[in-house]
Amino acid sequence: MVMLIVTESMLFGSLIASYFFLRFKSAPVWPPDGIPTPSLKLPLIMSVILWTSSWPVHMADRAARNGNQRALRLWLGAGFLLGAVFLGLQLAVEYPEKLAEFTPTTNAYGSLFYTITGFHGGHVLIGLLISLWAQVQAWRGAFNKDRHVTVQNFTMYWHFVDIVWVLVLATIYLSPSL
């Protein structure tokens, strides 16, 4: 799992490096072609929600270690909820707004914006699916003190997705305002 995370980090790293490469190659105005600089309000709200979700996930991991079934189910559920709200905001609120301004095929900026955020969103989605999986197993009582690798792996993955969001936020939303 650690190695998967390393290689995934490189993947995000490559995308973000491509973002800056294209940005500094292009005209001084960024975003180009009259696309407004992304507003920070919604992304910051989303960030808070996503980062908060690391807390219940951490607690779920602890509950699994202690073999506390009830707490495990509860915390997993809470983490799932927060993650789902984040993804919902991205898909239902942010993207429609943005698509009115520009699309992935407008120019390279659009391609970068949707690919990087979409790629992260995809990771959140996969995280949610793993969480769902872990919850099903948790309700079946498949985990105990000694057997909870799934929860452990899910926790690591989820924290990773949250940390990557720091970079995505900094790159996509903060850096154009600098």
Partner: protein
């Protein structure tokens, strides 16, 4: 002790039959599969190269049409780079890493099976393009803008892009598996400074892949988005940049070249001690040098792009690191030479290949140093000089060690020796043919012949060199064919090899040839870098518990040890055969074909089937799950 063997046989034995063939997770069977499949692709790539050489034998030939020619050299490069060397080295690695470190299997056996099937699937995927006459036709590094849909509208490039994304799953899975296996499953006492150099080579391969593969995947995904959905990553009219592809590709590409040679170096460092009857000189320097090459390999990618128009400072940096990387490479060469001189070399076939390797690789290294000098590079970019260089490095650095490895290790894998006379004949034909084929390319390159040219005018001074290259290529092919015949004959009627035909130093020789399904009756305690030379009890049969061995004969288990000192930590239960790796691969293949042919239905089916396979894979069975 017989009862222990029987008990282990019951626990580890897989039922013979087609189902097991598909479901096996045994690292030895998978190693064989990798090896065979890789060799089949090697033959494909070889035939493509012979067609290319035939077309170039004389000026103004038109044996095949230009479009077919483009497909030939593209698939030749792609196949050799992605579907032959790394899979074959992974095959050796899969088979021998657990045996060399005294484990009963790889750390993640099902992931291992998945890696193999995806490799096969991706290979079939890319080669299926020939069925509709639309094989990739833009060279193995597939530069944009030529690869954009505007200039290459057919599905040719999509086969390449999607095939390589698909293959990436395999390489990544394999790499992670190697890293974890090597760090966690070494026999007790095999501290990190007692690890065979081949194992170090595979570790370097794993680490380099984990860092190098993602930039390629990112570039491929971006290109496919450009091609299918009209994104603009590489479109300079819309703020994109074609040079971005080159950066991403070579950030991957140059480490990849080292990925191709590092395990092969390790293999050489195994064969030299066995045939000079003395330990390698400078073990620690070789290990540090291998790791240094893997690391510096990430700093040299721009040297593929000297002619692109990059800021001077970046060029200087890359030029510097390109010169720098020669230092650890030279350290290894000198360590090999010193060991050869200090020992008493026995010139069996594997050793001949080692000597051929050293000679060829040094020549390839020399032309490599020339490229690191920017003014020289500007003159020779995209000429046959580059073609000569890459073949000296790759055939010299990887293919010769691989063939030496066949002669060295097949006896362990099949239990039968190969014929020495045929082996030597094969070596000399390969060596002579190789030099005849590729040395003239230096000259035709300096005379200005561009790579990938379909044909050429006569009287440019190129004719004789091209004819020699063509003859050499066919001699090389004949040499290779003789090894294959030798291989086949040995399996029919070769002399029995016995456990340790070479009296070599590492653990794989302590078990029978071929090894039983559980590898070792007891997991031996290791007290030396050369266990077979310095622990005489290993030569007398399975090590006994009073000598420190762990029996682990009551379950499907292997021993997990600490990362540096290899002190025993836990007994790990290993998973049994599983249908899911192959099912998942087929599902993913359906998905990729769906994307290729713009069929949403097919793609969706593939995605759902993949999800179902993953669910089946991870469904708790009461066994300990993989992490």
């Amino acid at each position: 002790m017989a009862s222990v063997a029987e008990r282990l046989e019951n626990i580890w034995g897989e039922r013979p039959g087609l189902i097991t063939w598909l479901e096996t997770v045994d690292h030895k069977k998978l190693g064989f599969k990798y090896l065979y499949t890789g060799m089949v692709f090697f033959v494909f790539g070889g035939i493509e190269s012979l067609i290319i050489r035939a077309q170039l034998a004389e000026a103004n030939l038109e044996l095949i049409d230009p479009e077919t020619y483009n497909q030939m050299f593209s698939m030749h490069g792609t196949t050799m780079m992605f579907l032959f060397i790394v899979p074959v080295l992974s095959g050796f690695g899969n088979y021998f890493v657990p045996l060399m470190i005294g484990a009963r299997d790889m750390a993640f056996p099902r992931l291992n099976a998945f890696g193999y099937w995806v490799f096969l699937g991706a290979g079939i995927f890319m080669h299926s393009s020939f069925l509709i006459g639309k094989a990739p036709n833009n060279g193995w590094f597939n530069y944009v803008p030529l690869a954009n849909s505007e200039f290459t509208p057919g599905v040719n490039i999509d086969f390449y892009v999607l095939g390589l994304i698909f293959l990436g799953f395999s390489t990544t899975a394999g790499a992670i598996n190697f890293i974890v296996t090597i760090l966690k499953l070494r026999a007790p006492g095999m501290s990190i400074n007692r690890m065979p150099i081949f194992v170090w080579g595979e570790l370097a391969l794993g680490l380099a892949i984990v860092f190098a593969q993602p930039p390629l995947t990112a570039a491929l995904v971006m290109l496919e988005l450009d091609r299918k959905l009209g994104f603009h990553f590489f479109d300079s009219t819309q703020g994109g940049d074609a040079v971005l592809w080159q950066h991403l590709f070579w950030i991957f590409g140059h480490p990849w070249v080292y990925i191709l040679v590092l395990p092969a170096f390790g293999l050489v460092s195994m064969m030299i001690p066995a045939f000079t009857r003395r330990p390698m000189i400078g073990y620690i320097y070789i290990v540090v040098a291998e790791m240094a090459v893997a690391l510096i390999g990430f700093g040299v990618w721009v040297h593929h792009m000297f002619a692109v128009g990059i800021p001077q400072i970046a060029l200087s940096f890359t030029s510097l690191s390109s010169f720098m990387v020669t230092i650890p490479s030279a350290i290894q060469v000198f360590a090999w030479l010193a060991t050869l001189v200090a020992g008493k070399p026995i010139l069996k076939t594997p050793m001949l290949f080692v000597l051929g390797f050293v000679f060829t690789f040094v020549l390839g290294g020399l032309s490599g140093v020339m490229f690191a000098a920017i003014p020289f590079d500007l003159q020779t970019t995209d000429s046959y000089f580059v073609v000569a260089h890459i073949h000296y490095v790759i055939i010299g650095g990887s293919v010769f060690p691989i063939f030496g490895g066949l002669y060295y290790w097949l006896p362990k894998m099949t239990g039968r020796m190969l014929d020495e006379r045929l082996g030597k004949l094969s070596f000399w034909l390969m060596f002579a043919g190789f030099n005849l084929a590729f040395f003239p390319m230096h000259i035709s390159g300096l005379l200005g012949q561009p790579r990938r040219t379909y044909t050429y005018q006569e009287n440019l001074g190129w004719d004789i060199w091209n004819l020699l290259s063509t003859i050499g290529a066919f001699v090389l092919a004949l040499g290779i064919l003789i090894t294959f015949i030798n291989w086949y004959k040995s399996m029919q009627s070769g002399e029995p090899a016995g456990a340790d035909p070479w009296e070599a130093e590492t653990l794989e020789w302590s078990t029978t040839s071929p090894p039983p399904e559980y590898n070792f009756e007891s997991i031996p305690a290791v007290r030396s870098l050369h266990p077979m030379w310095e622990q005489p009890e290993l030569r007398r049969g399975p090590q006994r518990p009073e000598d420190g061995a762990y029996l682990l004969a009551s379950g499907h288990e292997t021993l997990s040890t600490s990362m540096l000192d290899a002190t025993p930590q836990a007994v790990v239960e290993m998973p049994h055969e599983s249908p899911w790796p192959v099912t998942l691969t087929v599902a993913m293949m359906i998905m990729f074909y769906g994307v290729l042919f713009d069929s949403g239905l097919l793609a969706a089916t593939g995605v759902l089937a993949s999800a179902a396979s993953v669910a089946g894979w991870f469904w708790p069975t009461g066994e300990t799950q993989e992490t």
